[in-house]
């Protein structure tokens, strides 16, 4: 218990502190790096609650893909972040209001599950205890059996997203030089090099 509590406070403290740094750091690259640190600590918190699959997915998807994408955007695009941040104080009341709403919702949810714990027992497909079956295995048990229909539709949604991205962005440009590997490989010295004998003192 002691060790777990220690890690809980460690992860939560670092997560909150680095989340604060995300919005207060002057350099946007630092912001993204702090965002990665926040994700990392959130993954640690997931691990503590026994949701190891979610923790690893958070690492792979959010840090491996999303945050790195952010980093590329921040470094490659010419966006003036100081200008973007100019009016941040004007929006502070709205932000505070949204924060308040979120806090109220959290209190309602936590309060609801504390006041009526029987709600948690009526879920249709509960997760088996961590001692019986690991999280990943439990997900695998249902994903390809009970949820195979959902899984396939999700696949189709991704297919549509891919077609959409290609349709809306791909342009076949004319007069563009492309690498043609078979032609390159098939070239021989005979076709590629022209040997010219130049008489000395005359030039071409």
């Amino acid at each position: 218990m002691g060790l777990q509590a220690l890690f809980f406070y460690l992860f939560s403290f670092v997560a909150v502190a680095s989340a604060f740094m995300v919005i207060s750091a002057r350099n946007p690259v630092y912001s993204v790096l702090f965002l990665i640190l926040t994700f990392f600590n959130a993954a640690g918190l997931f691990l503590l609650t026994g949701a190891e699959f979610l923790a690893m997915i958070l690492l792979v998807v959010y840090i491996g893909a999303v945050a790195v994408l952010f980093l590329f955007v921040v470094m490659m695009l010419d966006i003036d972040f100081t200008e973007l941040r100019a009016g941040v104080l004007d929006y502070a009341p709205v932000g505070a209001l949204i924060g308040l709403v979120l806090a109220a919702e959290l209190i309602i949810v936590v309060g609801g599950s504390t006041l009526s714990p029987e709600i948690a027992k009526s879920i249709s497909m509960p997760i088996p205890a961590i001692t019986e079956r690991t999280n990943t295995a439990a997900l695998g048990d249902v994903l390809y059996t009970h949820y195979v229909y959902f899984f396939q539709i999700a696949g189709l949604v991704l297919l549509v997203a891919m077609i959409g991205a290609i349709v809306l962005t791909l342009r076949h440009r004319q007069n563009i030089k492309r690498q043609d590997i078979p032609t390159q490989v098939a070239r021989s010295p005979k076709t590629a090099v022209e040997v010219v004998k130049v008489k000395s003192g005359q030039g071409l």
Binding site: S122, S124, Y149, A154, V160, I163, G164, V167, L168
Partner: protein, 480 residues
């Protein structure tokens, strides 16, 4: 799930499998034959939709599949056939106009087939998760199709606007679903219903219901979630607008009917007041906001908002007669919309330029009497003048509302349709009593076929209404 139940599930969802596998095959054909294959792929896509529809009509045996998350019943089959017919008609109409509308790419029919697949899955969904996934499949394809003419600023604006607002509405829907799941512990429709009748409703569940209805109201473009409709209708290429106005509305309405009647049957009083409110608001906005419109696509957008309001009148009554009324209304609405959009697509000057203003129709009776007659029939029917189809559609929903003692709703509906008649009649007046400004080019054969057939259907509804009413009754009986 054993192998046997899985095979039975596959059998029940054969129409969807045909579309899913077919769309991928079409994609491969398109990719390997290049940009020129647009016509071929469109033809094959129409064939695919036809095969799927034929299977639905001759399919026997209904039931649940994939552990109860997918449902096949007479209601689903009725709405699916309607949706497939709508998609087919728009694909056929777009075939001739694709080049001038800037959507002559093979991805267009493929995306239409995938969107239609999403619609069929929406109609059959019997679980909150399958509702959400099917809705996303349909919406994502529609966002792309709206922005298909990517070199046109208005088309890309329409796509972006639709995407942002659609994502917002999906968020609301999902939030509502998570609340319903949290308070009942189930995502399956029957399980939610039994949990509700056993434990009664709680405040959190009503919150969830409101959010879900808000998300679905966005999809059927009902007030107050209609803001996207006029801009998207105006900006999207015209064949795409015709598609948006017909098939997705049918599917979303079918989903809404199943969603309120199956899982939320025990709390009918709660959802009825929401449906009554959005119905009244849609009817009034559709009637008054359309008066000032000069662009015929915007006019049709407000008209469709109003018509969704009238269809919801039937749903608000919550009875078998009401659901039957909604089914007939959606069928008639779809035919009227397709006929009108076939006429709009035919508004092409001799130099090949498409025009979209209502005033461009002036004097159509002198230049193209047949098209003017069909459009007149459509406008009279949209206004709800007897003995055309639109009158019977309104009659059935209002009668259901009166039977359910929703007198105020029925009276407001009739008054709104009187106001709405003004702008429909204005179009007719322009066509018959004003001087012609210019001639339209002769419409292509498919357009004449589509508006001719829909004109015949609307005019002769008195004669063919009987079997349609019986079919709608069989479909509506599913729930009661």
């Amino acid at each position: 799930m054993t192998a046997e139940t899985f095979l039975a599930s596959l059998h029940l969802s054969t129409p969807e499998l045909i579309l899913a596998v077919g769309a991928m095959v079409l994609l491969m054909i398109g990719v390997f034959t290049g940009e020129k294959s647009s016509g071929l792929v469109t033809g094959l896509a129409v064939g695919l939709l036809a095969v799927s529809g034929a299977w639905l009509i001759w399919q026997t045996g209904d039931g649940q599949a994939y552990g109860g998350v997918f449902l096949s019943d007479p209601f689903a089959r009725f709405m699916k056939v309607l949706t497939l017919a709508g998609s087919m008609a728009t694909l056929i109409m777009s075939a001739g106009e694709a080049r001038s509308a800037g959507i002559d790419r093979f991805e267009f029919p493929v995306l239409v087939v995938l969107a239609t697949l999403g619609m069929l899955l929406m109609i059959s969904a019997n679980d909150l998760i399958s509702v959400y996934l099917a809705l996303e499949l349909q919406s994502l394809a529609l966002y792309v199709v709206a922005a298909m003419h990517r070199d046109n600023l208005r088309s890309t604006e329409a796509g972006l606007k639709y995407f942002v607002l659609g994502a917002l509405s999906s968020g609301m829907l999902l939030y509502g679903m998570s609340l319903v799941y949290g308070f009942t512990g189930h995502t399956g429709f029957e399980a939610i219903a039994s949990a509700l009748s056993a434990e009664g409703r709680s405040l959190g569940l009503v919150f969830g219901l409101v959010f879900i209805l808000a998300g679905v109201a966005f999809k059927i473009s009902a007030v107050p979630f209609h803001m996207w409709t006029p801009d998207v209708y105006e900006g999207a290429p015209t064949p795409v607008t015709a598609f948006f106005a017909a098939a997705p509305k049918i599917a979303a309405m079918a989903m809404l009917i199943r969603l309120v009647i199956t899982p939320f049957e025990p709390i009918v009083a709660d959802w009825r007041q929401i449906v009554v409110f959005i119905s009244i608001a849609s009817m009034l906005l559709g009637a008054f906001a359309a008066i000032g419109q000069r662009n015929i696509k915007r006019l049709m957008a407000y008209s469709s908002i109003g018509h969704m309001g009238y269809a919801l009148v039937g749903l608000a009554s919550g009875s078998m007669a009401g659901v039957r009324g909604v089914l007939i209304y959606m069928l008639v609405y779809m035919v009227m919309t397709l006929g009108t959009f076939a006429c709009i697509l035919a508004m092409k000057r001799k130099d090949g330029n498409h025009v979209e203003n209502v005033d461009d129709l002036a004097g159509l009776s002198q230049t193209n009497p047949l098209m003017a007659t069909v459009l007149t029939v459509m406008m009279f029917s949209l206004a709800g003048i007897p003995p055309l189809a639109g009158f019977f559609a309104k009659y059935f929903v209002f009668m259901a509302a009166v039977e359910a003692q929703l007198y105020a709703l029925a009276i407001i509906g009739v008054l709104a349709s009187v106001v709405g008649a003004y702008y429909y009649l204005r179009v007719i007046k322009l066509m018959w009593f004003d001087e012609a400004k210019g001639e339209f080019a002769r419409p292509s054969g498919v357009l004449r076929l589509v508006y001719g057939l829909s004109g015949l259907f609307v005019a002769a509804y008195v004669l063919i209404g009987g079997p349609i009413g019986t079919a709608a009754e069989v479909a509506a009986r599913t729930f009661f």
